[in-house]
């Protein structure tokens, strides 16, 4: 009998298909737990954390649209809540602008990347239908954002006790990377269960998705600090933007230390 405390296994390597030499995971729906319907959003949140294969199985069933819509709704709500924490650093306009930008940025990134994921999945030999791929992306965004909610109290404590935009940006980025890691692990497990022959295509898509999301943070800036306009007037690559922020931080730090020395 299975230990009730041991969740169903997710195939091991984070960003690759089932490795050669290790046994392939059992087919989806092989356990009665996985076949149990997911009645609402709370059950969807529970399942994606504890029984990810149940979500994957339900996405294959007819009428999975409701589950997908529920997961998107949770992702939007959670990103709005996390956005409020992001905006709390600067306050004022950012209290509503940051949540809107975080939620819109996440949804737009997912939508932009969805067609390429479907193509990469087909190229990798996956049998997944478009609706299932959309469901896996919805699951990815939901898992990412509920994890961000877990980080929200920590982020809030820091946002109230620092004035450095760079420090806050680094912190949010670190939380985002951890959340994205788990989200992409779910997506990868979903494709492994869809008899994806090689994980190569999915790996490339994951890199693209990460780049798109990172660029989105620059495209909708400012998310943390303030600016004269709601959206940027100058176009920048995210690496350039980060370098500019670091330089600005270094200059102000040098100025502060020079003033202290005087």
């Amino acid at each position: 009998m299975n230990d009730p405390n041991t969740p169903p296994l997710i195939p091991k390597p984070a960003f690759a298909g089932p490795p050669s030499g290790l046994p392939a995971p059992p087919p989806l729906g092989s356990s009665p737990d996985e076949q149990a319907p997911i009645p609402g959003v709370v059950a969807a949140i529970e399942s994606i954390l504890r029984q990810p294969r149940r979500v994957m199985y339900q996405l294959r069933q007819a009428g999975s649209n409701r589950l997908i819509a529920g997961m998107v709704l949770v992702a939007v709500l959670c990103s709005i809540i996390y956005g409020v924490v992001v905006g709390a650093f600067s306050g004022g306009t950012q209290l509503w602008a940051a949540p809107a930008k975080v939620a819109a940025g996440l949804l737009i990134s997912a939508l932009i990347c969805l067609p390429s994921l479907y193509i990469f999945a087909c190229l990798s030999g996956s049998q997944a239908r478009l609706v299932e791929v959309a469901g896996l992306v919805a699951g990815l965004t939901m898992l990412m954002t509920i994890l961000l909610i877990g980080f929200a109290p920590v982020a809030w404590v820091f946002s109230q006790s620092t004035e450095s935009v760079t420090a806050m940006g680094t912190l949010h980025l670190a939380f985002w990377f951890i959340a994205t890691y788990f989200g992409l692990r779910f997506l990868n497990a979903g494709f492994s269960a869809h008899e994806d022959r090689s994980g190569g295509g999915i790996k490339v898509w994951m890199a693209i998705f990460i780049l798109v999301m990172l660029q989105m943070t620059t495209a909708v800036r400012p998310l943390i600090g303030t600016a004269d306009t709601l959206l940027p007037t100058e176009k920048k690559f995210f690496v350039t933007h980060w370098m500019d922020c670091l330089k600005q931080n270094y200059d102000s730090e040098s100025g502060r230390r020079a003033a202290q020395t005087r």
């Binding site: 041991t6 954390l49 994890l147 877990g150 920590v154 404590v157 006790s161 620092t162 730090e253 230390r257």
Partner: protein, 237 residues
């Protein structure tokens, strides 16, 4: 009253970290037990904090009586949601309340150990020249007290986490999964804990500065920025 006496009777089992007993307690969320743990944290960590603060002044000791347990409880609550999510994602299917209970148990063990060392710290402080009457920091004494604190806190933390690891192993059946969950929890707790200690400073306090519950700049800057700043200052000097 019976719940309280049951709590007291079961306390040695908690300190021994007997996985069979603790497994059962982790599965059942009981208000009286949780209150008992919170009380142990307030008494144990509070007394230790007071002993630490006594070196600066009795007022600082009084402040620490509240602040030290507060740090522990705020870490537990602040990371509760995150810890509850990380456990199943890392392979241990704990419910939210179970993960909260496990972290609380581990902090209770640490607080009990700290509380037990509080008289020794009081004794060391009693034998050390008081900071309050100094115009210059007595560095030898300061370093000795600091080192003693580090050793005791490290011992309490290690003992509590060894018990937590054993319990996680018993719950999940795998050493690898238990280690993964423990290190993820530890990472999060240390990260938030450092910042909470920074906000709630001073715990001892410089003799040149007044005794306060919180510094007026408590919410300015963060622990990690100050570390980076110190390193930069060191490199540029």
């Amino acid at each position: 009253m019976s719940a309280l006496s049951a709590n007291v009777e079961q306390f040695p089992d908690l300190l021994r970290g007997d996985p069979d007993a603790l497994k059962d307690w982790a599965h059942r969320w009981q208000g009286a037990r949780v209150l008992g743990y919170v009380a142990v944290i307030f008494i144990g960590a509070g007394l230790y904090g007071a002993a630490m603060g006594w070196w600066r002044s009795p007022t600082q000791a009084g402040f620490n009586l509240i602040k030290f347990p507060l740090v522990i409880l705020l870490i537990t609550l602040g990371n509760a949601l995150l810890n509850g999510m990380l456990a199943p994602l890392l392979g241990l299917n704990l419910r939210f309340r179970q993960s909260l209970m496990l972290v609380l148990m581990s902090f209770t063990i640490a607080a009990a150990i700290l509380g037990a060392f509080a008289p020794i710290i009081f004794f060391i402080i009693w034998n050390t020249p008081s900071l309050a009457r100094q115009t210059q920091v007595p560095w030898a004494a300061y370093n000795f007290v600091q080192l003693t604190q580090v050793v005791i806190i490290a011992f309490a933390g290690t003992a509590a986490n060894v018990r937590l690891l054993r319990l996680l192993q018993a719950l999940g059946g795998s050493t690898q999964v238990a280690r993964r969950v423990l290190f993820a929890w530890l990472g999060g707790n240390l990260f938030l804990g450092s910042q909470l200690c920074w906000i709630l400073r001073p715990f001892i306090g410089s003799p040149a500065l007044p005794v306060e519950f919180l510094r007026s700049d408590a919410l300015e800057g963060n622990f990690y920025e100050s570390v980076v700043r110190a390193v930069l200052n060191l490199l540029s000097s």
